[in-house]
Symmetry: C2
């Protein structure tokens, strides 16, 4: 199995360059990636924006929304790229079009899968560690389960600060760490908090962390810091 | 109907004082409030923390988790106070204990309802404008519908900033405004973005905004700024 999962926040030239280099190395010499834009409302606009920002890494992106039969598009794809946006909308669409089994089958047979942000959330057992607003109710929170752990994309540390007039003031909503602790009050699955621009590259039994640090949360244990460049093969033995 | 809905973030002495003054005026001369701590995991600890922080405004808080029959506790309550925490856990518990109809009936008969943060989210038609992590899947996103509009609690403006070492750096996740625009791509209901420490006091046909500003989002229209102290009776005519 070959899966590349990104946190999101690829908004600086350095981050775009890292993502593109990694995509070239991951996908190799193929021409076309089947792109799933379902996390955003404007599908054509999404494909266009990725091309303009260079986030296609030189590959041709074929938007699945342009295919008359999306199940067949999955069955015939040589690579699958699932973009970010709203995770609930993405998963709801995958259920409505009955694409979850098709994607899971292809990836288990070796078709490479790239997910960014919401596209990483749906690669996990459930979407219960997304940061997104639940704007639509999917049939279930269960997702593709390509990996046995949860990812919290766009991870950050501590309280957030927000603009109030000219200054930045602390905001008292739950921190990301508090939210993940609440997840573990209800669920046993380990959670990887992946800082923006971070990537997990999973190939067979190997897991590499690239681009940014991460923090691993296990129920009932102190969080563990993970450095970019480190091997995280043990994550595939997660419960 | 008498409903008081708070944004959350009552973490400074001035904000606690405002909340308590408003609670005294809203609940009046009664002794006891029935408190629903279901949004947090530790129910006894929650009641204790509210007392320590003075967020009971001098009233006795009776935790519903201490009653053998929570439906009967609702039926006999003279006032209902639903605390914050995780909105998905709160709504899931309300469904599992079959309390939604009981609460709705009592409030429609005149029992005053106070909701803070998650307690405000569940007073809306759905929980689709919560900020919380979906740590558990409730039977439905449909909620109490005490008011005909949505609230986004802990509202703030623009990009967030997060700590990276010693400095605050911008974070590239969706802004709150982008999330609410995505809600309106899927749903028509107006959304009140309520800044921290803000309160909506609804009595009969009157709606008063207290404590902080708010921003009203209607599908397809420019957002509208709402000032503390203003009357928002028109919100009750929301679709």
């Amino acid at each position: 199995m070959r899966v590349l999962l990104g946190s999101g926040g690829f908004r600086t030239p350095e981050r775009v360059a890292l993502l593109c280099t990694t995509m070239r190395s991951f996908f190799g010499a193929m021409d076309r990636l089947l792109f799933l834009p379902y996390a955003l409302h404007d599908h054509d606009g999404y494909v266009q924006a990725l091309l303009e920002r260079g986030l296609n890494a030189g590959y041709t992106l074929e938007g699945i929304h342009r295919f008359p039969n999306p199940q067949r598009a999955i069955a015939q794809a040589s690579a699958i790229y699932v973009g970010g946006g709203n995770t609930f909308r993405l998963l709801d669409t995958l259920y409505r079009l009955d694409l979850l089994d098709a994607i899971r089958d292809r990836v288990q047979q070796g078709t490479p899968y790239l997910g960014i942000s919401a596209g990483s959330n749906v690669a996990c057992p459930t979407i219960k560690t997304t940061n997104d607003m639940p704007i639509v109710q999917p049939a279930s929170f269960n997702a593709l389960g390509l990996v046995p752990f949860q990812i919290n994309p766009h991870y950050f540390d501590g309280q957030i600060h927000v603009r109030a007039g000219e200054e930045l003031v602390p905001h008292f909503g739950e921190t990301r760490e508090e939210r993940i602790r609440e997840f573990h009050e209800m669920n046993p699955t380990p959670v990887v908090g992946l800082w923006e621009a971070g990537l997990l590259r999973i190939e067979g039994a190997e897991v590499h962390l690239l681009g940014a640090a991460a923090r691993l949360f296990r129920r009932g244990e102190a969080p563990q810091e993970l450095s970019p460049g480190s091997r995280l093969d043990f994550l595939l033995q997660a419960r």
